[in-house]
């Protein structure tokens, strides 16, 4: 139980949950910042994808579902919709992670950008099928673009500040 690999995985799992809690608190602080033209990026989504593609073990399915369900509840979003979409996307990314691990960063970035765009599109389609009210398309698209743009920053921060490096398929700890 106490071998260094397990300890490290649990350390990063706790980092993940703490960071998500931090971002969530920061987003709901009543500071009235979001009146500008550029929306705040969906940091938790970018963080989840970035870490999932680095070390899938530190972002377990249960944590993803719990974090995004709480996010849906607190941000007054459709209950469970964001969680469902991100859980599906994260399962997909988990499956292709070994291939992504051997790509260049550009390839990974393209993969994540496509995933975020698909998530946004899926959300709109599901809301459309359910005949629910939707935010204007331009705002939603801008939100997705800002989220994609902040992805490299999150990767840099997690690599150089937290020491979370990409896992290669040949590494022995790729479990």
């Amino acid at each position: 139980m106490t071998d260094p690999l397990t300890a490290r995985i649990w350390l990063f799992r706790s980092y993940y949950l703490t960071l998500c809690l931090f971002v969530l608190i920061w987003q709901i602080l009543p500071l009235g910042r979001d009146d500008g033209a550029i929306p705040v990026p969906h940091l938790i989504m970018a963080l989840t994808f970035a870490w999932l593609l680095r070390q899938p073990n530190i972002v377990p399915l249960g944590a993803v579902a719990a974090v995004f369900l709480i996010y849906d509840f607190l941000t007054h979003a459709p209950v469970g919709l964001g969680a469902l979409i991100v859980v599906l996307a994260s399962e997909r990314l988990r499956r292709v992670q070994p291939e992504v691990a051997n790509m260049t960063f550009l390839g990974e970035f393209g993969m994540v950008a496509g995933t975020i765009a698909l998530c946004t599109l899926a959300e709109r389609i599901i809301l459309g099928v359910l005949l629910a009210e939707q935010a204007p398309f331009l705002q939603v698209a801008l939100h997705a673009i800002v989220t994609i743009a902040c992805y490299p920053v999150i990767v840099l921060v997690s690599k150089y500040l937290l020491g979370l490096d990409r896992l290669h398929a040949a590494d022995p700890d790729n479990v």
């Binding site: 602080l29 941000t75 070994p98 479990v175």
Partner: protein
């Protein structure tokens, strides 16, 4: 080798089952949210009630610090601000004289007419705990809830102008849907001309004014107050002033300071009927239909005017609830 283990791990039947169960659970939640919205919103309110007040120890210091930074930035413009404040103070002194005279005159007239001020318009004060946290929704969370006597649908103001109404109520917290939210519709009256209109939020800081009968009678700077036509908002609450945007559309410059909402007043309104079932509307109860067969027909234009007006003005707010956005 490692790759095989990875695939094997993901394809483990137990894990697959868990994923499927989780997805079914989430789909169930979405359907519950869409079909029985009031219940889903009650669950949401209960969850928020559990989480947010417990995070206050972390949020309060950060909020305080950020506000201090904001205030500190304004020191840079201290001199200009001082000058501006002096000028404003000079004007205010003149207004104060006028106000005192008017107050005395008003008191005399009220005394002559034996008017009793409406005792039902009292308020409950609350502190803003949290924002909506989403770029597409405009709402804030207050630290007062059902246990303080707050009810769904009551209007919220800051010291000066209308801010929104209660949409979502927990035991210790209440969510205020701001008038800037794209789901918010408020019937208003524009002051000197007395025209009825609808203030409809569009997620911008200046909501649109729609359905004005004669736009020629309206000028920038006209006062906007609530008309009370929907039975939700009390009549006569200050909303803001008319501005005209570059596309010649009328918008409202809100009187409340939405940049820093801190303390809000929730106006008690005994006329609001709370929403409990999924098939009811917020607002005063509609009169019972006399003949059921008539109900099935499309509403004829000869329907009594107030009834249709109420229905049409209620439905956006009911939609807001039904969509949960």
């Amino acid at each position: 080798m490692a790759r095989d283990r990875h695939e094997e791990n993901l394809a483990h039947p137990m894990r697959r089952l868990l994923v499927v169960l989780l997805i079914l659970f989430l789909i169930g939640l979405i359907l519950l949210w869409r079909i029985d919205n009031p219940r889903a919103e009650r669950i949401r309110a209960a969850v928020v009630d559990r989480i947010v007040p417990n995070m206050e120890w972390a949020m309060a210091p950060v909020t305080g610090l950020a506000r201090m930074v904001d205030d500190f930035q304004s020191y840079a413009r201290l001199y200009e601000q001082n000058e501006q404040l002096r000028r404003e103070l000079q004007q205010m002194r003149a207004w104060r004289e006028a106000a005192i005279q008017l107050e005395q005159e008003n008191a005399r007239l009220l005394d002559l007419n034996r008017v009793q001020p409406d005792p039902s318009l009292t308020w409950i004060s609350g502190i803003v705990l949290a924002d909506s946290g989403s770029p597409f929704r405009r709402s804030v969370l207050l630290n007062v809830g059902a246990r303080d006597g707050v009810e769904d649908g009551w209007a919220a103001m800051d010291g000066l102008g209308l801010v929104g109404r209660i949409a979502g109520l927990g035991e210790r917290t209440a969510r205020v849907l701001l008038v800037t939210d794209s789901n918010s519709r408020v019937p208003v009256v524009i002051q000197p001309s007395g025209q009825q209109a609808l203030l409809s939020g569009d997620n911008s800081s200046a909501p649109l004014i729609e359905f004005i009968e004669t736009p020629e009678d309206i000028a920038a700077g006209d006062r906007i107050v609530t008309s009370g036509a929907d039975g939700l908002y009390p009549a006569g609450l200050l909303v803001g002033q008319i501005v005209i945007d570059p596309e010649r559309a009328f918008r409202a410059r809100l009187a409340a300071d939405f940049g820093r909402l801190n303390f809000l007043r929730v106006m008690r309104n005994p006329d609001v009927v709370p929403l409990n079932d999924s098939d009811t509307l917020i607002g005063p109860p509609l009169p019972d239909p006399v003949i059921p067969e008539l109900d099935a027909l499309a509403p004829s234009p000869s329907d009594p005017a107030p009834e249709t007006a109420e229905t049409s003005e209620d439905s956006p707010s009911a939609d807001a609830r039904a969509d949960g956005t």
